[in-house]
Assembly symmetry: C2
Homo-oligomer: 229 residues x 2
């Protein structure tokens, strides 16, 4: 067995498919699985030293995230990288959902939320900004956590599902795989503005600051993609 259980006292029985899912996710974000390449079920099973059955289940779940695409009888492939146009579409979609999340979350805000948001910002400041995934993973995690907290505190399971469906919260970073973190200072400042609106309890302002933030991300990502090309 290649993947061991955590040795924390009671052996918490784990489902192998979950480990496979995690392993695939890391491999995808790390860039070991490049966009467009096929993901063989049997091959991945051999590589992870498990049987094809849990691999199949993990891939079925991954498909819903958009990270991989499935063609019946043809297997799975890693989803292609975002084009600049698709990236703009993703930001447009975020502009639809996340400002609404911010508005609603602000109505339910309490000191617990603002404390957690502040912590996420602090972690963002402290995170390394290197180009490799191992380095900017902490950055990504803190950024994702900030937005997810807001989505969760909107207290609407369907909006949360919609937020999750964007999936780009993970995948968009694959676009910048070779660039690393380039806009940390802007993001930190914009996150802080959002936090201020939450602390003031001004839902309309929170909505607007979220719009400003995502517009900023959109413009900066467009600029980066131009530089890159």
């Amino acid at each position: 067995m290649a993947i061991k259980n955590q040795a924390s006292g009671g052996v918490s029985r784990q489902v192998l498919a979950d480990h496979v899912y995690e392993a695939l996710l890391v491999a995808l974000m790390d860039g070991r699985l490049e966009a467009g390449t096929p993901v063989s079920i049997d091959g991945m099973a051999r590589e992870l030293d498990v049987s094809p059955t849990p691999v199949r289940e993990a891939l079925a779940r991954l498909e819903a995230t958009g990270m991989v695409r499935r063609m019946a009888l043809r297997g799975y492939r890693v989803a292609p990288l975002f084009s600049p146009e698709e990236l703009a579409d993703l930001m447009d979609a975020r502009l639809v959902i996340e400002p609404a999340n911010a508005f609603m979350a602000c109505k339910h805000a309490d000191t617990q939320l603002t404390a957690q948001l502040e912590q996420a910002i602090e972690d963002l400041k402290a995170a390394p900004r290197g180009p490799s995934f191992a380095e900017f993973r902490a950055y990504w995690e803190a950024d994702e956590r900030f937005h997810r907290l807001i989505a969760e505190f909107a207290d609407n399971q369907f909006l949360l599902s919609a937020y999750n469906a964007l999936g780009g919260q993970v995948q968009r970073f694959r676009f910048f795989g070779g660039l690393g973190v380039t806009d940390a200072d802007y993001a930190i400042a914009e996150h802080t503005e959002i936090l201020k609106a939450f602390e003031a309890g001004d839902a309309e302002l929170a909505r607007q600051k979220m719009i400003d933030h995502i517009e900023g991300v959109k413009q900066r990502s467009q600029h980066d993609s131009e530089v890159r090309s």
Copy 2:
């Protein structure tokens, strides 16, 4: 083999998991699988006369739609029915996404879209309105098609994913399983208003008419749930 291929000339090889997925979907919407009941993998495999493997894969995909919930090592259960509060949340989420879809779709509208929307409305008028699933399936299909057309013509894959993630387009009807169609006349009128806005090319009006429609659905569903209780 319990499920046969379609006999259309070339024997299009089909994946069994897709058939299982469809069968489960119909069973869920039909009410044969009641909310909260466990869905045994082995049991379902016996019932459909297939092996557990494709059932497992179909359930993994279904989980992403919210129709079933999974607990590791405990199996799958049919998701609970919506409470009135959750139904209101679903409508609030639709109010975030679908007006934006309408606005964007209107910018890409052409005669093909308006023709298809008109067809969907005509089908809505012609659909039977009985209480059983077999009867109102046509109604549901036409209603769903109207909204999906708009989501697709918004021409943003991420917004489409978000729309799909709501999943309520299917599941919400399970709430009314015992009621059948009660607001067809309102829905037809409101759909027609949206279509008019599309024909006029007025994106802002289309957004507003979509808001009006979903607000109407929300209020009527609230009323129905009160009558029912």
